[in-house]
Symmetry: C3
Subunit: 271 residues, 3 copies
């Protein structure tokens, strides 16, 4: 799969803007991935901030170019903060990217994701196939926080789901699938080792946040972000001895990747 | 020390099962090591999930093959969640592995560990010498979360302690000591650099969780897990320039180690 | 810039003492950097402990040689714990090092930092230029948690601020600036890649904690700690392919640096 040339150019352009403007990405995210997420955003050239207190999130999000909400280790206080941050982001027009980690696995997670979707204006949801299917009320096969559904199975229903929710969705897997219910983009960048490191999915969501901070179309922001992120994974895997060295090489690659390399390496296509 | 051949074979067999069945290990663990623990479990082939909300843990643990409770950064809400998760695991027969980080250092930690032991059916406790001694009411020399007692000193009392608690114990150190009060196993795998990286003890407990998910005998699950984990430490240390590169090589080694290598490299003996 | 020879000797001596006595450093710090901070302290030879529960911090800090308070991801419960730990440290004469992460960005952070300064006896505050300026009530240009003010601009006002607060301050940047309101020290060690890894600032604060555990003068403790830390950054950058490999090489360098190398490599000067 080669990239539609205009989408590859958009990917290169978005990355250039991130490095020039260093968009502040406000994350209310889970404990497991906070460090990795911050390092992923810094390596890309963005400026990460983590803040979760109910009496702080509204102020913090007002400086941000994007808000990333991730329910990977949540409890009631964090849900309240996410909704509060999300409402403020909605009021200010700051794009919200939602990562419904483990939706479908427990009632708390499924309902938290649905509540955020209902009470705030989410720009895009990024999840694995099972998590995305769980948002539609379908019978998803989630096992903990790992997907048990294929991207293909989810993609079939994702277009309808995006329309139903009124929110674009990105399903990541061997080939990523992004749709707003009408337009469909697929991204074939990535490497299997990404599944052996915790937080690579959450990091993808955060990178979509950075791209959404410089690209007002959530569908192209997500597709170009995932092409950049997946391409860094391909570069990192080349020579990695396992998941540890892959993780380190991945941060190096996110930092080193040039717009020129993305122009040639992005594998995004329409439909 | 060479391995009793049946125990080395059991280690190889357990690892094979983990890679084939990818047991879900539910962790209620501390903030410091969440990322490393998840990466250790993924590298081994298991499927980690972190969930701590009181209104979620019962549902999450019902999918799990093992529950790991780690008190490394606790407060009252987390203790309540650990007990709730532990009670559900007890009811469902899910093996619970307890890591009493810092027991003996503060009253909160000692009492939390004792409460978990009293209110749930723990399959095995893994700690350093000081932490294990603290559970018996003895005068342990804990300094923060690092051991100030030798494994030998603790081993002398561990057999009685395991009987008294009715719970097998694993004391890790230069030579690990595992006992259920009758049988005693010792594991001589490992490397001093493991003590220079935070979370290697907590990671050992999580790996015991994964092994307990495929081996119903907690004593052999712990000994085989520690042999695998320590052997990965030996491989990682060879060529490491310090604790940073060791940590990365360690994740690579956990992922790369073959059943054949464990068969030959495990150093487990009876008595 | 070469080091005043007595300060370089002090740096070497302090590191030697840390490795010999392994001072326990109690951290109440943020979720993003807990793992990295613990690894930084371990690599240096200190003994880290993280504990934040209100019903535990007083007991834990009583064993510690230093208390590090870091407001990077705070909420009301954590602020209460920090104040409680700080009051106990004050009573016991345990030096407190404060990292006012994001002070100036939100009211919650600015007020939390000011409250800790008012209610406990802080030995030294370490921050970037914007964070330090925010403590003085000046108009700081904070963007999330990254500095938007130059060290030079802050240094001009830092001497007066240290006097006003009655607390020594360390402003880190390309050249670090440390003052108690009378004496001024500057440290020129470091590398730009340190800004591409999350938690390097927080790690610097923690290392100052370790040095303050063996050096009763907070100004020389901070300057010698920053020289050691920055020199490790210089060593790590040599050969790093990006922020990922830099981070790993940095932990290796913190562990490997000899007193001899610090004696020759430290760049600390008076005035």
């Amino acid at each position: 799969m080669k990239s539609e040339s205009n989408l590859a150019a958009q990917a290169a352009e978005n990355l250039k803007k991130i490095r020039e403007t260093k968009p502040l990405v406000h994350n209310v995210t889970n404990f497991v991935v906070m460090n990795f997420t911050a390092n992923v955003l810094l390596a890309a050239g963005a400026s990460p901030v983590m803040a979760h207190a109910e009496n702080e999130v509204e102020e913090m999000v007002s400086f941000a170019k994007a808000l990333v909400l991730n329910i990977g280790t949540l409890d009631d206080a964090w849900i309240a903060s996410m909704v509060k941050a999300g409402k403020q982001a909605t009021a200010l027009g700051v794009p919200i990217i939602l990562d419904p980690v483990g939706a479908g696995a427990t009632k708390l997670r499924t309902e938290a994701a649905k509540r955020i979707l209902a009470e705030t204006r989410v720009a895009l949801v990024r999840g694995n196939a099972s998590e995305i299917l769980a948002l539609g009320g379908g019978a998803a096969k989630t096992k903990g926080v790992d997907a048990a559904d294929s991207v293909d199975a989810a993609a079939e229903r994702a277009t309808g789901l995006a329309r139903e929710l009124g929110v674009p969705v990105a399903i990541t897997g061997p080939v990523d699938f992004i749709t707003d219910g009408r337009r469909v983009l697929r991204v074939a960048n990535g490497h299997p080792l990404m599944g052996c490191v915790t937080g690579t999915g959450c990091g993808a969501t955060a990178i979509i946040g950075a791209f959404a901070g410089v690209d007002s179309d959530p569908v192209s922001a997500a597709a170009t972000a995932l092409a950049y992120y997946g391409l860094a994974g391909e570069y990192a895997a080349d020579g990695a001895a396992g998941p540890g060295s892959f993780m380190i090489r991945f941060l190096d690659a996110l930092h080193a990747l040039t717009s020129e390399e993305i122009l040639h390496g992005a594998k995004i296509r329409e439909g």
